[in-house]
Symmetry: C2
Subunit: 493 residues, 2 copies
């Protein structure tokens, strides 16, 4: 085979990342485009009309993210992609792009057999095509990564890979089979997709035990697979995240283009050809747009600063990142609700819209902080020197990560206790946040001296972190967040 037809796989992966991220994010549109009557209680609308749709959005976001991470894992074995791999990857992308349709169908008609079967068939075909990629790559070892090619037991690696890409297909086969009987069991199998990486590992152990070594998926191979998955390629996480951030900003302007430009007839009869008056009627939309863009842009900026200082990313960090991205994907909904209500009403809907936006902003930003906290437990492997505890930029990054949680909590509390908050002032606050970051930059980079006295805190800070690292579980993470929060309060006074 001519080596010339074998192309570096980087661009194919970047293209796949872009499609995955767009597909995951546009699933918010059925939620954001829900008709909301202006004269109803928004709190009730959220609970009865929006919440089921939001849950399906989050579920579908994670299913796409799981498929994406399986794709990352699969293509990490490929060093160069030949034409067949590229064409098979396009087929995978075709199926992925079709997923939003099956999701929307399932969201609208959850109890219909056809909806469940259609989704299942998509995932089964996806698994089969991925299996084809695995078989093709193992028949053409010159396209593989050096470390896999030089492995002693290539067949065992191949079997473990095949099992990994086929687990979702197996789960969906069960879901499709049970669909005519009862949809509840089907949904149990579908939700199990979220756990598929773990199921694959357990299953491979079981198979190699039961078959007595005939199907070789030895512990050694599984561990290799595991370690591959532990370190999700950082560049691909960045690429995927960039896609989500980019499409969110554009989805909002798309809505404005389609809905807030009056037609020529409306302009003639309603506004007497006065374009200024017609646009002024929707002026709150523009403030909402710029405010939302500022938030999305700055969350990207924080993400960028954080990932610049990460040396590698674990599965837990990628999970936090996916949750953060799912929340950022919810920003078009926040935009819609805050631009819908522009004067006080009986139900205080304006305040509820602001509160929902704050919840979204808080969850998105606190998950970013969680990534950093997770990395702090293994600073040697995960972080660059300058952001380790005691490092030159440690506090600067920490404060950056704390800005949005603090801002969103503050606004939320204000909205609970007082009536002064309007959507206008909320959007102005969103637009003002960049100034905070500029001031931070002035203090940290230009003046610098302001951050030095606080280095003494490390005397107490360091041992706490080390103590916590001993039992690194969820409780510990909570304690650390609390601890960091206390540090921040000391800082401020």
């Amino acid at each position: 085979m001519a080596d010339d037809h074998v192309q570096s796989s980087g661009r194919m992966q970047a293209y796949s990342d872009a499609i995955f991220s767009i597909v995951a994010t546009i699933m918010i549109l059925p939620v954001a485009h829900t008709e909301i009557p202006k004269d109803k209680n928004l709190r009730e609308v959220i609970f009865y009309q929006l919440l089921p749709k939001i849950l399906i959005y989050i579920l579908s976001f994670f299913v796409v993210a799981i498929s994406w991470s399986a794709h990352v894992w699969l293509f990490q074995i490929i060093r160069h992609a030949d034409d067949v791999t590229t064409l098979l990857n396009l087929l995978i992308m075709m199926i992925i792009t079709f997923l939003p349709f099956t999701f929307t169908l399932m969201g609208t008609f959850p109890e219909f057999v056809l909806a469940i079967v259609l989704f299942s068939v998509c995932i089964i075909v996806l698994g089969l095509v991925q299996a084809l990629v695995v078989l093709h790559v193992f028949r053409n070892p010159q396209t593989m990564e050096e470390s896999i090619r030089s492995s002693e037991n290539m067949t065992a690696v191949r079997n473990a890979l095949l099992l990994r890409v086929l687990v979702n297909a197996i789960l969906c086969t069960f879901a499709a089979v049970f669909a005519p009987v009862t949809s509840v069991i089907s949904y149990v199998f579908l939700v199990m997709i979220l756990l598929s990486p773990n199921i694959a590992v357990q299953l491979s152990k079981l198979i190699s035990k039961c078959s007595g070594g005939r199907f070789q998926m030895s512990q050694e191979v599984v561990r290799r697979g595991k370690s591959y998955e532990m370190e999700v390629n950082k560049e691909r996480v960045e690429c995927y995240s960039d896609g989500v951030f980019a499409i969110v900003a554009t989805l909002i302007i798309l809505d404005i283009c389609e809905k807030d430009i009056p037609s020529r007839t409306a302009l003639k009869y309603e506004y007497k050809n006065d374009l200024v008056a017609a646009l002024d009627h929707d002026s709150s939309v523009f403030l909402a747009y710029f405010g939302t863009f500022a938030t999305v842009g700055l969350l990207w900026y924080i993400h960028h600063s954080l990932y610049h200082h990460l040396k590698r990313t674990s599965r837990l960090m990628t999970m936090f990142n996916n949750f953060s991205l799912a929340m950022i994907g919810g920003m078009p909904l926040a935009f819609k609700l805050t631009s819908l209500y522009n004067d006080t009403d009986f139900y205080n809907n304006e305040r509820v819209a602001i509160q929902l936006s704050c919840v979204i902003m808080f969850l998105a930003s606190i998950s970013q902080l969680a990534i950093f906290v997770t990395a702090l437990f293994r600073p040697e492997q995960d972080l660059t020197d300058s952001v380790k505890v005691g490092g030159q930029s440690h506090y600067y990054l920490l404060v950056k990560l704390l800005v949005y949680p603090t801002v969103s909590i503050t606004i939320y509390i204000i909205s609970l206790t007082s009536d002064v908050l309007s959507v206008e002032s909320f959007h102005v606050a969103q637009l003002g946040t960049p100034v905070l970051f500029f001031i931070l930059w002035l203090i940290a980079v230009k003046i610098q001296v302001g951050f030095k006295p606080f280095r003494d805190i490390n005397m107490m800070y360091n041992p706490i972190i080390q103590l916590l690292s001993v039992n690194c579980d969820f409780q510990a993470v909570c304690v650390t967040i609390n601890n960091i929060y206390i540090q921040f309060m000391i800082y401020c006074n």
Copy 2:
């Protein structure tokens, strides 16, 4: 200044590319979402209703592409981006994302002063922010590219850069000033934006001549600027193109999700709760979707194969690429029209829709071929060895590039001469094209021998190319395309 706060600028550029490409592409939606009455003559609808919108789409696509190439040019001087540059870049992105709104407004109300002024103000602010970036970078030389920092005359480089980013702002100032007088002059200035790279070069010559050296923008500097622009960063072209390809595929499924899933009430009363019947009613949409995705995916695949073999890209090649991308952005329109008509009617609208799709496919693919032909004029600088005339993969790439022009012309001619063609068979043909590429791969890579006899053609092929290179102008390009076509006919027989 701490060097630690300075981050590599790669990710910021990739994120910007994603936003630019999405913004350029979603401008097709006002065209694709135009209400088309099913019982009217499609040919008339295209000429009177769609054509003006299509022209505005192409104009806006190119304005965004020009802004993108100015962005590429500006950020090529930056090696590492500090926080201020990153925040200023986010501001640039905010303005870019707002452009679709001003475009749609201008498209709907072309004669209104406000529409012209709003667009102009956006471009003016864009220019000013870019000028701020230039000033900031030149005040912090450690963030600059080595080659610029070591230049003898940094002030002159800065002046040339400032002029380049401010030219569009100057043009738009004139457009805004003339808008209240007459909109025609304004539009002349706005169209001049498309020529702004050349205007900047001419203007800088003029200024340094007139000021007698006080404003130093010497020829040497201009040439430096020019050579920077001649070689548009290949990675960024790929990134931008990937964004367009990815968003086009997703825009189509977005439409299906919003329009072709029946509501619960419609299902109950119209289809008596029979979901299969409800979806079957729209079954032509799914065939159209898979057919269109196959086309977009394969055009990406050809683009990928082509750019893999390019060593650098000139401005002319980028222009062809932009035109190709603008046409690919038109695929959602082709999808909409071909899925609208699913049975024969009085006006033969079905055939017109197929013909329009063929025109779009032909223009998109022939521009890709034009990139390769342009590169053939300077093979030493532009191409890798294997695709030069006589190289191992030359014919393989050439045939790949010729598949879509040939297929679309063939379908167009069939649709002119016979009645057998329906949209169904058109979409089946689209879905069948991947098989062609697979057969090509079998011949070229697996069998190989099939391509060897044709190497003798190089005896006559080579001198023709060399002869043409002497006067490399538009006519020569045409002759070469014709020549390649003749080669292809020899090939086939």
